[in-house]
């Protein structure tokens, strides 16, 4: 697998009708001390249903801003974001986010945190109980159902954060460096968990990271972002067989190639 053979320039994709998420010419400018600064520059890509896409870029390249716009937390300066053909205007459970920070509700137990979104959607207690129990065991937190967020570790918190949005069955799951604050071993566990959940639920996932190994481990496709202004420089399909292990020769080879192309 040679990355330079399969990579192609970004911005040439045509957002088709059955794409889950289509982003066209998205630009974001912020006003910094009266002068406009372009943070995101004509971002164009699409995500197909069930695809795992990693957006790889350094800190400060605007990848979190991009994710926040896709989530609907604030609008782009220009350009277009569409989910199944419909424009994205405000936050909603069809585009759920797993944040880097701990955003669990500290007054709710693990179980109640996972049930939170469903409770706004249905009054069917039976259904809620069954679903929450199912997702609780999917993320391996069965024994911790009655714990409060402050009583569990950072990795467990991110498992809860994952379960509470997966249970809502979003069309796209947006993940903003969710494992960046975890130790290396926990991060690997979480990556393996994410891949297994993704395969089980065929969930479309957009995963932002600055970590090259993480991107190779997870992605079907890697979108490489430039710094200042944030622009998608390259789109690299990752066709390595799963499960991908960091010590395998093909992984090491791919990583070296990716590093080289990042350096140019």
């Amino acid at each position: 697998m040679k990355p330079e053979q399969v990579s192609m320039p970004a911005g040439k994709v045509d957002p088709g009708k059955d794409d889950t998420l289509g982003v066209t010419d998205l630009t974001k400018r912020f006003d910094v001390n009266g002068s406009p600064v372009t943070v995101l520059d004509r971002i164009t890509f699409n995500a197909r249903a069930g695809e795992m896409i990693c957006i790889l870029g350094r800190s400060g390249c605007g990848k979190t801003t991009l994710l926040n716009i896709l989530a609907g937390f604030f609008p782009p300066s220009s350009g277009d974001v569409r989910l199944n053909g419909r424009p994205v205007e405000k936050p909603g459970p069809d585009r759920c986010v797993v944040f880097q920070e701990d955003t669990l509700f500290p007054w709710l137990t693990v179980w109640e945190n996972i049930a939170f979104g469903l409770k706004g959607r249905t009054r069917d207690r039976r259904y809620i109980t069954d679903e929450v129990d199912r997702f609780l065991s999917l993320v391996g937190l069965g024994p911790f159902r009655d714990y409060l967020p402050k009583e569990i570790s950072g990795g467990m918190k991110q498992r809860v954060a994952l379960a509470r949005v997966l249970i809502l069955k979003p069309r796209v799951l947006l993940m903003d460096e969710p494992f960046a604050a975890l130790d290396a071993q926990t991060r690997e566990e979480m990556q393996a968990l994410l891949v297994s959940l993704w395969q089980k639920l065929s969930q479309t996932i957009l995963f932002v990271t600055h970590n090259v190994e993480e991107a190779i481990t997870l992605a079907d496709r890697i979108l490489v972002m430039n710094n200042r202004p944030g622009h998608i420089r390259e789109e690299i399909p990752v066709l390595l067989p799963r499960p991908r292990r960091i010590e395998k020769a093909e992984f090491v080879f791919f990583r070296r190639k990716l590093h080289e192309s990042l350096r140019d």
């Binding site: 759920c96 944040f99 955003t103 509700f105 007054w107 939170f116 706004g120």
Partner: protein, 265 residues
């Protein structure tokens, strides 16, 4: 064993200072350092307290008046504090979240807050006359500020990411307010309610000093006119006890009713 002993004595710690105070007090009165008409001895106060609370009415001044006094005072505090909560809590939460409302209210509220509560007394007497209304007004006015200010501070400091997380899970404004904003602000709200209830008792006595026939404050003021220092001290101690118990009841009932009060405080 030693551990058990420690645990038992740990429970006694809150009573060490009150007991010490009573001992010092007894020593002062026993030695005759202060004459009894200025400071009666603890045993006399105890006798008077018993008389006031449990004595059959008609057997002497103040005998058995406790129940009517306490009931009257509790009603005044309850109504006044209730008004302060009904007004201060929603206004505080709204001004904590909406800059416009905050700007609208801030100057007026802080201006009013600078006026000592006692200066409202003459005006309140002119407006409402002597009795329930004046006291309730004073209590509500005094309790409003800590409730309002703490609710506003609490609502302001709720982690915006929690509200964002709610929005992305499809939570509407109404549910967001009750399921995220209020629980997130709960520690501050609780502090405000406790401060408000505490100050309610202070302003209750102030309101009752003005010639109402019953109430704990009225009993104290009445005793001053008659030079009954023992009754003054009994009244003060009863207010201390009721104030402490009402604070604990407030905390306990909040914790009983609300997960956020139970799990975050």
């Amino acid at each position: 064993m030693a551990h058990d002993l420690f645990k038992k004595s740990y429970r006694l710690i809150p009573w060490v200072l009150p007991a010490g105070l009573v001992l010092v007090w007894a020593a002062i009165t026993e030695t005759g350092l202060v004459p009894a008409y200025l400071l009666p001895s603890p045993t006399e106060i105890g006798r008077m307290g018993y008389h006031y609370i449990l004595g059959p009415s008609g057997t002497g001044a103040y005998a058995g008046r406790f129940h009517t006094d306490a009931l009257a005072s509790l009603i005044r505090v309850g109504v006044g504090f209730g008004c302060a909560v009904l007004l201060g809590l929603p206004l505080g939460v709204i001004s904590g979240r909406l800059m416009l409302v905050h700007r609208l209210l801030n100057t007026l509220v802080n201006g009013l807050r600078a006026v000592p509560g006692i200066t409202w007394l003459p005006l309140a007497m002119v407006w409402f006359g002597i009795g329930l209304k004046t006291t309730v007004f004073l209590v509500a006015l005094a309790a409003f500020f800590p409730i309002y200010l703490n609710a506003a501070a609490g609502a302001r400091q709720v982690n915006p990411l929690l509200l964002r997380a709610g929005a992305m899970m499809g939570v509407n404004r109404l549910r967001g307010t009750f399921a995220i904003l209020l629980p997130g602000a709960m520690p501050h709200i609780m502090t405000g309610l406790r401060l408000g209830l505490g100050i309610s008792w202070a302003y209750l006595v102030l309101g009752e000093l003005t010639g109402v026939p019953n109430g704990l404050g009225a009993a104290i003021m009445d005793a001053r006119m008659l030079g009954r220092v023992d009754m003054i001290i009994v009244g003060m101690m009863i207010i201390a006890c009721i104030g402490r118990v009402s604070d604990q009841l407030l905390v306990a009932s909040l914790k009983f009713c609300l997960k956020s009060a139970r799990r975050m405080a």
